[in-house]
Subunit: 172 residues, 2 copies
């Protein structure tokens, strides 16, 4: 019987996990906001970055760095957005400490910082402002002309394929 | 003769430094975008998070956590925004690896994620889109009704006072 991992109240699909360290998991996304957008999640189901032990902090961000090196190259990017929304007033919607690592390219968003609005919308189970998400989406150069249907959840198979590719790159 | 610290091409005023660890410095801001907005800067003048050694990564984020605990309480906040714009395509404007740590309260921004636009504008020496900054500023509940003059650089003395207070809280 395989281990069940949780992300807040949600069960993580085994196929989403591409990195397991002592204290952290690397997960591909159901609805990435840009290609290669992944999460580093603390194995311990605690809400806040402030709740982590020093060892957990080190492990999460060393993992974010390892993953960042791989996804920046794999997704032909030149930079990374690394962000932790630590608590509800910072936009956190799943109460389980996690860090977003997102490959960035010049011009991937017309307004560079619109990505954070998408991070928040992405994290939310119930999108409270769908009209805002649509606006942000329309500002995404990479997605220009696409509509919300393109952000339907990916299939388990798609996620498992990406996770297998990242796992292989991380171990090579 | 005192040590001179650099932040990218800029010299850091000694009065801005409130934490010195083996690999990182904690700095108060010339123009904080919310009260208590501070930076954790790698002592080594390298542009990318990806350039850091594992020891530097651990030190920077363990420092961010120590500082976060103190500033969240000191500034009567309930959450933290922790963000690293790693490279120009992610909005980084000073080419020296740094992490923003910002105390957050519910409602401090009408649109929660406008804070990232301010982080980018804040980091920039030459604000390329002053009209956008003004818009974001007008959306800030905490600053409602104030104008751009309220974002004039703080004095050395103001910064030194805040740094002394944070230094004292961190050592207590």
């Amino acid at each position: 019987m395989s281990t069940v991992y949780k992300f807040g109240p949600h069960t993580i699909s085994a196929g989403q996990v591409f990195l397991k360290t002592q204290y952290s998991l690397g997960l591909v996304n159901l609805k990435p906001i840009l290609p290669g957008h992944v999460l580093v999640v603390c194995r311990r189901n605690v809400p806040r970055f402030l709740d982590l032990s020093p060892e957990e902090v080190s492990d999460m961000f060393q993992s974010a760095q390892r993953i960042g090196k791989v996804i920046e190259k794999e997704y032909d990017a030149t930079s990374l957005t690394i962000a932790c929304q630590d608590g509800p007033a910072a936009g956190q919607t799943v109460p389980h400490c996690h860090v977003h690592v997102i490959p960035r390219r010049l011009g991937d968003f017309v307004n560079n910082d619109d990505i954070y609005e998408k991070i928040t919308a992405h994290s939310s189970e119930l999108l409270k402002h769908p009209e805002r998400v649509a606006t942000v989406l329309s500002n995404t150069v990479a997605n220009k002309g696409v509509d919300n249907e393109d952000r339907l959840p990916r299939t388990e198979e798609e996620m498992a394929q990406e996770a297998a590719r990242l796992e292989s790159l991380l171990s090579s």
